[in-house]
Amino acid sequence: MKNRFTSSSPDLRGVKAREVRDSVVIRFAGDSGDGMQFTGSQFTLEAALAGSDIATFPDYPAEIRAPAGTTYGVSAFQIHFGGGDLTTAGDEPDVLVALNPAALKVSHKDLRIGGLIVVDTGAFTKRNLAKAGYETSPLDDDTLAPYQLLKLDISQRTLDALEETTLKQKDALRSRNMWTLGLMLWMFGQEQDATAQWVERKFTKQPDIARANVTALKAGFAFGDTVEMPMDVVGYTVAKADVPPGVYRTVTGTEATAWGLLAGAQAAGLPQLFFGSYPITPATSLLHVLANLKSQGVLTFQAEDEIAAICASIGASYSGVLGVTSSSGPGIALKGEAMGLAVATELPLVIVNSQRAGPSTGMPTKAEQADLYQAVYGRNGDAPLPVLAAATPTDCFDVALEAVRLATKYMTPVVMLSDAYLANAAEPWLVPDADELPRFPVTFRSEPEGFQPFLRDPETLARPWAIPGTPGLEHRVGGLERDATTGHISYDADNHQRMTDARTEKVRGIADDIPEQEVQVGEPRGALAVVGWGSTYGPIYQAVKRAREEGLEVSHFHLRHLSPLPRNLGELLGNFDKILVPEMNSGQLVTILRSAYLAPAEGLNKVTGKPFKVSEILDAIHARLER
């Protein structure tokens, strides 16, 4: 991250001239009930509208409604905004807004030394302190000595602002987050209109609530502008990003995935997107988004379990629509047998895995990258299939689209890997024009003359897609090994060899149909290649950039295609003395690269349910290059 508040206090003292910053990291933290996710996304929206680049990290508890005031009930939303090319939500917040003691307790250690902490003193009651496990109030001892502390009785000020309203105190206090948002918007030179409008739209049915929220928002904003503001707090002007022109919006990985799949169905000219799924955190939101796209020809089917979900989706593909299923690790585990059938019967299918921390139930709301083995190797028999991974929320759109292309062109199931972080994080997106999106229309077999269910396209090795309803193509398919031409059951030894080889070759061949691996940062040769995949993109990208600023010969390669690997990857990696593979698992891609290229790749592994910090990767780079 670029120049930030220095930790010397003068910065936060003196006249009320706005100071200038390139980028700032704010974390809003409070109780699950305090509306921190809403506050965060509204701030995101305003900053985005104002032309900042943005990266966010929502982090909320596993429990539906954890008891109020407890540390495990804390909900937080971190946003990094400012001038260009921000790819992470930031290692250390510059500003922490803590609406209760638990939030303070959980978050303050992450804050950078000298950072600003804003607390609602009104919430620091004996009871809340106790719930957070504080014997004495951290506001009174030296717990927060390393930071700038701004104590405000936000609760009281919110109540004051809402005096006129008829709201009960309990309800009025609900607007604390809006008051705080207003103050933060002021402090970082943002507008507040978009939020105001949004609130009014959202609460049209409850005008008094709408009014209360807007009033609180304006009051918080005004508070900053007025003399009420303590002398030692000042406003900031944060740099804008110079991003390419066009229409923008913020998008989560989940939304981008849903739309990418839909765009894929459209690009393939398929009549319907059939989405069979079973709820599971953090994959469920994809079902929710798609369930609202019926008008676009999306049929969502909530099955009795993950097995039924994938089986129904395979059935749908067999019928001639785009079958898609999605889940998270434990649910994907249940789909393994059916994935094998899709491989064997060679039907198109997209399987989306929103990875979460494992093994077993693990930590459902936390991100991890430990399902790569499962995706590439986790089936009985030789059952190869393409595996893709998205690197950022917006990247999910392109990857989903690509997954559909491969599935339909090669008549194969395709796994798309996402994770809990990508699914929920939002970032600005330059919205593409539909007419600029790729097209890859499929053709269903219709000609009975010379039809054989397993006669392959000599180029793609794909078998024909012959769907029920087509006169003259009546045939039988199944999971027993089948004749390489007729598809009839065959126990013939040579036929099994031929079919096994064909399935392998078909997937291998895809390497010639995907782009060569490009370098994200740096040169195609050098001392150290840092190779990543998935949501580690941001921290790796930043770490390599900084390392190069330090003059180190480091390059960043980020893989979208994990199986088959890009055809030029081996050669590229050969151009480096060392290879470092940061992963949020115990070392999976590193295993694949080592065996694929006998390349001396080493892992940098972290499984804490939290994203890498840029500094962690930078340190590892230093360590490798000092040896």
């Binding site: 839909l262 069979g276 796209l293 020809g297 009795e304 079958g323």
Partner: protein
């Protein structure tokens, strides 16, 4: 396909070119014959018909029918069939399964396909054994069944397929017997005519691993006394000269077997079959020899709108159709956007 100008199709038109590979003498042959006759009588279009199965001897069925066929994985056929039907409601879908495939590993999908009431026909071949894996006992095997996995006899209470189907909320529940050709064909036609999920249990003989398991009521000699052929609106009579019947024991919900003419019993006392009564159906599926005859025929039929119809309606209400570019743009730009110039 059956060309329009073609003469009425024959059973053989529905036979595939594949050699049938069941054990000689297996009850499955008779069922295959009945099915091909049914399809011919109904003149179904081959290209619009799909047979879906799991794994088992029974599940080999689709290979022998000249329509589309999908031999899937063990126990999951109802789920595949649901996807097939939802994606193309115009298709005529049959699910062929066995007592192991459909009630052991596949019990849950069976429950949910019936509950959802997807318009398809589930035909379960009940031979009370795992045939393909060489004769282990199944969830429908009688207690005490000796099999390679239960050399001292099985200890589990068997499940009655039709009782389960009712418990799951199935709207069409029927029974027939492999060897009763005309009856079987009629039942299959009724199942096909029913809109929604229809469940048909066929008592099937596994010559090799469970020979004669149903003979207590299927044997010609005992059939009249041991079978109760139910017909909607008709009294529940049975016996060689139909002089036996079922009567509600006054003041209870239990039934008893009575003989016409004996101590004043007349046909008026006999319970009349009502396909729409769940309680009646629940009673019928439980009847067992030696005290009671086995109920055969359409035990329950009370149609409701089928799932895929409802889904289609909801999609229609939402104006579903493949997204145009314009709509795609609308989706992508829906919600809050801003322009950078």
């Amino acid at each position: 396909m059956i060309a329009p100008n073609e003469t009425a199709p024959k059973a053989k038109d529905y036979a595939s070119d594949q050699e049938v590979r069941w054990c000689p003498g297996c009850g499955d042959y008779a069922i295959l014959k009945a099915m091909q006759k049914t399809l011919a009588d109904l003149a179904v279009e081959r290209e619009r018909t799909v047979f879906v199965s799991g794994i088992g001897c029974a599940a080999r069925f689709p290979y022998y029918i000249s329509t589309y066929g999908f031999h899937t994985i063990h126990g999951r056929a109802p789920a595949f069939a649901t996807g097939i039907k939802l994606a193309n409601p115009g298709l005529d879908v049959w699910v062929i399964t066995g007592d192991g495939d459909g009630l052991s590993i596949g019990g849950n999908h069976m429950l949910h396909v019936l509950r959802r009431n997807v318009d398809l026909q589930v035909v379960l071949f009940n031979n009370e054994i795992y045939g393909l894996t060489k004769g282990q006992y199944s969830p429908t095997s009688k207690r005490g069944t000796r099999s390679p996995s239960t050399p001292q006899g099985s200890l589990e209470l068997p499940v009655a397929p039709c009782a389960l189907a009712l418990g799951a909320g199935g709207r069409f529940v029927a029974r027939s017997i492999d060897t009763m050709q005309p009856h079987l064909v009629d039942v299959l036609k009724r199942a096909h005519a029913h809109r929604g999920a229809s469940f048909v249990e066929i008592f099937q003989n596994c010559l090799v691993f469970n020979d004669g398991v149903h003979s207590a009521f299927t044997e010609k000699s005992v059939a009249p006394e041991a079978q109760l052929h139910v017909e909607h609106g008709k009294p529940l009579l049975f016996g060689r000269d139909r002089t036996k019947g079922l009567r509600v024991t006054p003041g209870t919900l239990e039934v008893e077997v009575v003989s016409l003419g004996e101590n004043g019993v007349t046909e008026a006392d006999i319970l009349v079959h009502d396909e729409k009564s769940r309680t009646l159906a629940a009673m019928l599926v439980d009847l067992k020899p030696p005290d009671f005859p086995v109920a055969i025929g359409v035990l329950y039929c009370d149609p409701m709108p089928s799932y895929e119809q409802e889904v289609q309606q909801q999609l229609a209400q939402e104006g579903a159709k493949p997204a145009t570019e314009a709509e795609m743009d609308a989706v992508l730009r829906g919600g809050r956007t801003w322009e950078v110039t």
